[in-house]
């Protein structure tokens, strides 16, 4: 369990993280999303005690990371893959870090095996590819068999087999009741891997919820309708909240009305339907609309008494006008 309370980090004039409060629960994979420079890495560095918060606090399993008697068994972290002395072999790098906790060579060889580094373990890290460096970073994170894992861009540079391996690994670790917190830029990967998402933009949290909820919030569910009477149908279902687009002749893309409502309307007007398909949005669309709103509402966002980040409340209404405008053109 990771708990951040009003966590803030300023570098001189620039505020990297602005009073964020969140909880990462054990037993599930929590994704951390946000544009470049949104404050993801800074937040993770503060969790690991590498950066000192300007204000607020963050604890892991109830205590600051630095206060643990055995930090590596509490939290395993991959923050930057190349935080490695280039002149040392992968195995010696792992042995040195394991030794700080009296973890033996047996566990070192285990994580080497687990991460598929056996063939290159004796080679100096300086010659490693991005993917190999990434595997070594994951091996370091696993050394202490930790209760909490923090992985910053773990699949960066990995081949498809490695991506799949990381996905299965983090899901497995979460299913054992561990806390898994990972960031990624790959939306499709995040949608497949994470159970819960925290979206951050310009230093504050835009959304925090289960993946499906975030997708539903950030995208408008649409219905694809194919009908020989498309024009009449468009008139029949028109309403204040309904947007109708025409991607191709005879096909309507409807948002603001459910498939049931459209079907009922068609039946009432005696119009033939050839297709009626509800489409749900993708995480990528949700993410784009969420982060776009973040920029749009940043300057005038008032604080919310109930602790909900202001933008999370604002975005629901924010997408509607812009899409209607587009549709009206």
């Amino acid at each position: 369990m990771i708990e951040a309370q009003g966590l803030t980090k300023r570098y001189g004039e620039k505020t990297a993280v602005n009073g964020i409060t969140f909880t990462v629960q054990p037993g599930k994979v929590t994704g951390f999303l946000g544009p470049n420079g949104a404050g993801k890495s800074t937040t993770m560095r503060m969790i690991m005690g590498l950066d000192r918060p300007t204000a607020g606090s963050v604890t892991v399993n109830g205590a600051p990371y630095a206060s643990f008697r055995s930090p590596l068994t509490e939290v395993g972290a991959l923050l930057e893959a190349k935080a490695v002395h280039t002149g040392r072999s992968a195995r010696n790098h792992l042995r040195a870090l394991a030794a700080t906790h009296g973890i033996g060579d047996k566990r070192v060889d285990e994580v080497i095996d687990m991460t598929g580094l056996t063939a290159v373990a004796k080679r100096r890290v300086g010659g490693f590819s991005l993917g190999m460096g990434q595997r070594l970073g994951i091996a370091v994170a696993l050394l202490g068999d930790p209760r909490t894992l923090i992985l910053d861009e773990p699949v960066n540079g990995l081949d498809p087999e490695g991506v799949l391996w990381v996905r299965n690994l983090v899901k497995y670790l979460a299913s054992e009741g561990r806390t898994v917190f990972l960031s990624s830029h790959l939306m499709s990967e995040m949608a497949l891997t994470a159970d819960h998402l925290i979206v951050i933009g310009r230093g504050h949290i835009i959304a925090d919820g289960p993946v499906q909820e975030i997708i539903d919030q950030g995208t408008k569910a649409t219905v694809r309708v194919r009908s020989p009477h498309a024009d009449q149908l468009a008139t029949a279902i028109a309403g204040p909240d309904v947007t109708v687009g025409t991607p191709e002749p005879g096909v309507l893309q409807v948002s603001g009305a459910t498939a049931e409502q459209i079907g009922d309307a068609a039946a009432a007007a005696h119009l033939t339907l050839h297709e009626l398909t509800p489409l749900s949005g993708s995480l990528e669309e949700a993410y784009m609309s969420l982060t776009a709103d973040e920029v749009e509402y940043r300057s005038d966002a008032p604080g919310h008494p109930d602790g909900t980040p202001p933008d999370a409340a604002a975005f629901g209404t924010a997408t509607a006008p812009s899409t209607t405008e587009e549709a009206a053109r």
């Binding site: 054990p26 590498l50 190349k82 002149g87 009296g102 209760r147 561990r178």
Partner: protein, 283 residues
């Protein structure tokens, strides 16, 4: 995935209860120290230079004993240039031991494993200082044996019952070890290999000559307190220390041990500043 899942291992982990301790950190730094090539190279160079130069100078001195009258025990004379040259190797090692972590980013891995931070410096210094102490002691012992072998037949052998002789021999070991820690401290402060190397070598080899060349009296108070000139007194015979002190009318007259104390003070102050910053700042 259950929402109420308990932590994976609530207490008493099975694998021999790993935990952070200073002893474990020493072991970690020991692995780090001996798993990069620079340690083996620089220590090898120090070892060979020390013994080789003492052997060379002792051999030449044995052939021509003129000019050695006022400099204390003759068999100790070869140690002065040998240590001055050998120190360059340990300076490189001392700097790289810490800047190697800063320039590669390894320091952040080290601080993640040991989040209280300053023990990382202390354990590194123990491993660096301990390793160099042992290896330089062996080098000095072998050198003393060789110097004695050349000069004993001429009637100038080492007298290990003489406190001055023992002080100089031990002093060479202490000086080389402490200079390495001095280089480490500056490396920790500057975090950059080239900058730290240039600063250490400047302070040890160049600044003293520059200060002495400037005809402004206050600088002559400062010059004897520089780390190299103060610290190296421990490697010199009483007669040589006296000669150096007589050289200047002003400024502190440091004995061998006082000079060494000044070098230790340099190390303590610089590493204290570096450690304070390590503790306070972002890594």
């Amino acid at each position: 995935m259950s929402a109420v899942a308990a932590p994976a291992r609530p207490s008493a982990p099975a694998t021999g209860s790993p935990h952070l301790s200073f002893g474990h950190l020493l072991r970690s730094e020991w692995i780090k120290f001996w798993s990069v090539r620079s340690s083996i190279w620089t220590l090898g160079v120090m070892f060979v230079v020390m013994i080789g130069l003492v052997a060379l100078i002792a051999g030449l001195t044995a052939n021509d004993l003129s000019g050695t009258e006022d400099s204390g025990p003759v068999a100790l004379l070869p140690f002065l240039p040998a240590t001055q040259l050998a120190q360059l190797a340990v300076v490189v090692l001392g700097v790289l031991t810490i800047t190697g972590e800063y320039t590669t980013g390894m320091i952040r891995s080290s601080l993640t494993a040991a989040p209280r931070r300053t023990p990382v410096y202390w354990s590194k210094m123990v491993v660096l200082g301990g390793s160099i102490l042992v290896i330089s002691a062996v080098a000095v012992a072998i050198s003393a044996f060789i110097s004695n072998a050349f000069l004993d037949p001429k009637g100038f052998g080492l007298d290990l019952g003489d406190t001055e002789t023992v002080r100089v021999l031990v002093g060479n070991v202490l000086y080389i070890t402490t200079i390495a820690l001095f280089a480490f401290a500056l490396g920790a402060l500057l975090k950059h290999s080239a900058a730290a190397m240039a600063t250490v070598l400047g302070l040890l080899l160049i600044i003293e000559n520059v200060l002495n060349a400037i005809p402004w009296e206050p600088l002559h108070y400062v010059a004897p307190l520089l780390p190299g000139s103060a610290g190296s007194r421990i490697t010199q015979s009483d007669a040589v220390v006296q000669t150096i002190n007589d050289q200047w009318d002003v400024g502190p007259n440091l004995s061998a041990w006082q000079g060494y104390g000044v070098l230790v003070a340099w190390v303590v102050v610089i590493i204290a500043i570096a450690a304070f910053r390590l503790k306070r700042k972002d890594a």
